[in-house]
């Protein structure tokens, strides 16, 4: 293509780069495509036109169905030409046009001819084109040729057939699976790429047969797979087999480890890297087994090729999470990577070093990072900040240099996410390292002096209000806070006012000054700020005198909202919809935590910024139960519903009658709600009741039952049984149940029931009221604070042996289930392979008594689990009750 395809556009500047496709237009090219129909084909010209069409498609231009069909039909004419170059372009455009099934038929015969041609290039390409556009029916016709092609002596043809097989396996697996023998033969091919493609296809054919894969790997790891790509595949399959076999036998031996280690000495970089990576990812790998892999990766670190350095440092970074000690050997090489041109490599190196570094190297490391921080993007900076946070928690003694580093970068330019990451880190450090508190608070104060993010300012002010008054000299923070009142927008001013009030409430000596400041706020231009100032002044000031702050006031200022925001929102909405004279009562808001969508749980640190941000969850089941129960006159006098359990199935799945039960706990009563479903179309049940035998639950006395008048097919109904129990006591017991009803036959054609029914009974499974039914799973946001503010007055500690357990996680879950409490701060998740674990739980016990539980688990060799249980609550008897639950469970 020596001459330009399109004339240069003269209107353009000379400086504008000239392109052979300048000013190209779809309409014009489609016109040009008519040359395909010429009786005397000009192969060169046709190739050029196809190139233009492909250029248009490549630039994102689309052809309409009509246009595409037209081009396709004229292209088929080009099969007449014997020009190989043109034929290749024809193959390309056919693939790009992806013709419909009825169009495919037109080119099938031409392509099949090419498949059997003597020109290998024709054959290879025709196979790929045909397999791309074909459907199942045509495939059976050409199957014979494809099988031959797989074992063809020309590697290009064989590869084309094998790769096509890999694609076809997705759509026509049963056909491709018949080619096993040929594919197996191709695995032995001398051509590198054929071996690779054959191995990939063979594995995919057998992937659902574990034994076959295992055999395949066993035979090939002994043999001689030469192609580097094929070896990479084999390494992946080998680690797959290792993974699956180690799942079955837990003896911990690594049967194919030797093969992986041998691959470390391979001469192809991609192979020994793949092997090194596979070894580092084996579960339960020992340090001794890791060492050769780490050594190989270490060599990469000083390579001149960025890809190698990147690959190595990325893998080592992952290893550092599980085996930090194994990576320390690479630290010196890693440190030189901090100044790497490639910022991805530098960041990975830093975070790896921060994970593996020891206490003595921290200062040096921080110095190097400081130089580096200014010229990386925010996303990398966030990674570094997070790594520094965890490092600081690891070496609390080093807080000074790390905190200084954080405050320095806080002053520099940066986006919201980056600043938020820094602020979050400082807040966490202040919480967890007492020595760092005053220093950190001052850094935060300085930051809000010049902070452009309202959200961060309010967060910091709130935090300052909680932590500031507890410091040795609270007065020094007042200036920073009051500056906000003068300088900032209304949102920040309002939270600054709240913070001032908190200082006033906690520190009596500051009260007079605080009052002066708050009074000034009464003239603020924003009503929220004025309202807050008025409220706080009224609360803190008694007749103008300065007195010690009332306990209720403190609770109001510092107590966290003990109802979930979503529940509060629904309750408020209901209240607004039905206006009444009575003021809204916050105690009427249900405290049950609704299960949030998973996505939200996974976003740590993202607190809803206000009520508007709270998820608008559908009406919770608790609300529904409450409505249901209060609509029944017998139950409306019992007071507030404390808790409703999750439904307990009392029948097997797919029985005639499906029944599950919900336990509603009130102060002096328990209501069993039986949800019944009749699954027999020919029956109508009437007067349905559940006969409950409470002989195993002596402290309960049956008061009444509420039968279900009629239960037609497939429309669930409820019947209730009411029990009385001693007030405020977590009474437990076991109840056996019998479903009793009158059956009436239903004529399936008319749907009418017969007059007379027969009395019948149906045995249900037992229902138990357990201690967990008396505990509400209410979470706390900061367990440590809650734990400390609860105080050790009613703390009860004891140790329990839990006997042999499958795993630590299983033991933890069992205890959580037993207590029915809310796990806090994600401590319900047990990391893999850990030998000990601490789980934090919180809840509210019967009678609105808050309970916090700290569980420490340990597991030894023969899977014996021991547990230390520490309970704090507001009531001694409740602490004891929790222990009783565990002891009896």
């Amino acid at each position: 293509m020596a001459q330009p395809l399109v004339k240069k556009d003269d209107d353009r500047d000379d400086e504008v780069e000239y392109s052979p496709f300048l000013g190209i237009e779809k309409g014009a090219v489609l016109q040009e495509a008519r040359v395909f129909n010429d009786p005397q084909l000009d192969p060169r010209r046709c190739s050029q036109v196809i190139t233009k069409l492909l250029y248009l498609l490549n630039q994102g231009e689309t052809f309409t169905k009509v246009e595409a069909t037209e081009v396709f039909f004229s292209v088929t004419k080009l099969f007449q030409s014997k020009d190989l170059g043109l034929r290749r372009m024809v193959y390309l455009i056919i693939k790009e046009l992806s013709p419909s099934a009825d169009e495919v038929i037109i080119v099938t015969s031409s392509l099949m001819k090419d498949m059997n041609s003597k020109t290998d290039m024709y054959r290879a390409n025709a196979i790929r084109v045909l397999c791309r556009i074909t459907d199942g029916t045509l495939l059976t016709q050409i199957e014979r040729y494809l099988k031959q092609a797989i074992v063809d002596k020309n590697p290009v043809v064989a590869s084309a057939a094998l790769v096509s097989g890999i694609h076809l396996l997705q759509t026509n697996p049963e056909i491709v699976k018949r080619w096993s023998n040929e594919v197996q033969e191709a695995v032995q091919s001398r051509a590198a790429l054929v071996q690779f493609h054959a191995l990939a296809l063979l594995h995919q054919i057998r992937q659902n047969d574990r034994l076959a894969v295992s055999k395949l790997v066993t035979s090939l790891t002994k043999g001689n797979v030469r192609s580097p790509l094929a070896q990479c595949l084999l390494i992946r399959y080998t680690s797959q087999v290792i993974r699956e076999s180690s799942m079955n036998n837990q003896t911990g031996d690594l049967p194919f480890y030797d093969y992986l280690e041998a691959c470390l000495r391979n001469k192809a970089e991609m192979v020994f890297f793949e092997a090194a990576r596979a070894i580092t990812e084996l579960s339960g790998v020992t340090n001794r087994e890791l060492t050769p892999a780490i050594t190989v990766l270490q060599l990469f670190l000083s390579s001149s090729k960025p890809a190698l350095r990147f690959a190595a440092v990325r893998t080592l970074n992952k290893v550092a999470m599980t085996h930090p000690m194994a990576v320390t050997n690479c630290n010196i090489d890693m440190e030189s990577l901090i100044s790497d041109q490639n910022r991805s490599i530098a960041t990975l190196a830093i975070t790896t070093l921060l994970k593996t570094g020891n206490e003595s190297s921290v200062d040096r490391l921080m110095k190097q990072i400081t130089n580096f921080m200014s010229d990386i993007a925010d996303e990398f900076k966030i990674v570094v900040v997070e790594a520094i946070r965890s490092l600081c928690l690891k070496f609390p003694l080093k807080y000074r240099s790390l905190m200084n580093f954080l405050s320095n970068i806080l002053r520099e330019e940066g986006g919201f996410d980056y600043k938020k990451a820094i602020v979050d880190s400082i807040v966490i450090l202040i919480r967890d390292i007492p020595d760092a508190k005053e220093n950190g608070l001052l850094h935060l104060c300085e930051f809000i002096e010049d902070c452009e993010f309202t959200y961060l300012s309010t967060q910091i002010l709130h935090f300052l209000g909680i932590e500031g008054p507890k410091t040795s000299d609270p007065s020094k923070y007042i200036r920073y806070i009051y500056n906000r009142v003068i300088l900032e927008n209304a949102t920040v001013r309002a939270s600054a006012v709240s913070t001032l009030a908190k200082f006033g409430a906690m520190v009596d000596s500051l009260k007079p000054r605080i009052f002066v400041l708050l009074r000034r706020c009464l003239f603020d231009s924003d009503d929220e700020v004025r309202d807050r100032a008025t409220l706080y002044l009224n609360m803190l000031e008694v007749d103008g005198a300065i007195v010690e702050t009332d306990k209720d006031v403190k609770n109001f200022l510092f107590g966290s909202l003990d109802v979930p925001l979503a529940n509060l929102e629904t309750s408020l909405k209901n209240y607004v919809q039905e206006p009444s004279e009575e003021p809204f009562d916050i105690d009427s808001v249900p405290k049950e935590v609704k299960s949030l969508p998973l996505a939200e749980k996974k976003a740590p640190g993202k607190k809803p910024t206000g009520l508007g941000a709270a998820p608008t969850a559908p009406t919770s089941t608790v609300d529904a139960y409450e409505k249901l129960l209060s609509s029944i006159p017998e139950f409306s006098s019992f007071g507030k519903l404390f808790k409703s359990s999750a439904p307990v199935e009392l029948t097997e799945a797919e029985t005639e009658y499906a029944v599950n039960a919900v336990k509603h706990i009130f102060d002096r009563h328990v209501v069993f709600q039986y949800n019944c479903t009749n699954t027999i179309p020919e029956q109508l049940l009437e007067n349905v009741t559940v006969i409950v035998d409470a002989s195993d639950a002596e402290e309960f006395t049956e008061v009444s039952t509420k039968p279900l008048r009629s239960l037609p097919y497939d429309s669930p109904g409820q019947t209730f049984v009411l029990f009385e129990k001693p007030e405020g006591v977590p009474t437990v017991g076991k109840f056996s149940n019998m479903l009793k009803f009158i059956v009436k036959e239903v004529d399936p054609t008319t749907g009418e029931a017969e007059e007379d029914g027969v009395e019948d009974e149906y045995q249900l499974e037992d229902l138990e009221v357990v201690a967990a039914d008396y505990v509400l799973n209410v979470g706390v946001s900061n367990f440590r604070n809650a734990w400390e503010s609860m105080g050790p007055d009613f703390e009860r500690v004891d140790e329990y042996g839990l006997g042999p357990r499958e795993s630590l996680a299983e033991a933890v879950n069992t205890v959580i289930g037993l207590l029915g409490m809310q796990p806090c701060e994600g401590t319900e998740v047990v990391p893999n392979n850990s030998r000990s674990h601490t789980c934090l739980l919180s809840g509210v016990f019967m009678g609105n008594v808050k309970v916090l539980v700290r569980l420490s688990f340990g597991i030894d060799g023969p899977k014996e689990v021991a547990m230390k249980l520490a309970v704090r609550s507001e009531d001694e008897s409740v602490s004891d009750a929790i222990h009783e639950i565990v002891a009896s469970g």
């Binding site: 994102g60 790509l229 690959a311």
Partner: protein, 182 residues
């Protein structure tokens, strides 16, 4: 997810050839991650912006981008990219990129620049077609790829029965061109 990739072949998600302003010369996508043309363009644009200041001339560079690993190399005003999943073996991607760059250099007779590439766009497109088929790596050796693309210029009158000889010729010729060019 991690298990999934481990049991599958190395997969290429896309190969891009952009000019020095980030405009397309030739691109090929093999994955459904970018379903529309605008998604593709957006990917190219941000990838180009992210990488344009790096020095990927003597050695191929590498970066993480949108949970993908991208290896790239710049020659004159052409930017070559190969993208794979975030768990892909970086060196396999780098090998594929090297094959692409080598093949293009051979096909453009070492005159690797945008103008030359556009004028020989047919060769570039065939080259892409010979490197990867539907995400599967077909060939990584640049001279073999170029050889497959270039064969057509000589096969016209070749005796069809003597394919092996003509292939040998093609290879010989390729090696000759290569040695002359160096």
């Amino acid at each position: 997810m991690a298990n999934f990739y481990r049991d599958t072949c190395p997969t290429i998600k896309n190969i891009l050839l952009l000019d020095s302003e980030g405009k397309r010369v030739a691109v090929k996508y093999y994955s459904d991650d970018w379903p529309t043309n605008s998604a593709k363009s957006a990917f190219e644009k941000s990838l180009f912006t992210k990488t344009q200041k790096t020095n990927a001339r003597s050695e191929a560079e590498i970066t993480m981008f949108d949970s993908n690993v991208v290896v790239y190399k710049f020659i004159q005003d052409l930017h070559f990219f190969v993208t794979g999943g975030d768990e892909e073996n970086e060196l396999i991607l780098a090998t594929a990129l090297q094959g692409f760059v080598d093949a293009v250099s051979l096909l453009l007779r070492n005159n690797v620049e945008k103008m030359e590439a556009l004028e020989n766009l047919d060769l570039i497109l065939l080259c892409l077609d010979e490197i990867v088929d539907g995400g599967m790596i077909l060939e990584t050796d640049g001279s073999i790829i170029a050889g497959k693309v270039a064969t057509h210029s000589m096969d016209d009158g070749a005796p069809l029965a003597e394919q092996t000889i003509s292939q040998a010729l093609a290879t010989a010729r390729e090696h000759l061109t290569r040695s002359l060019l160096r």
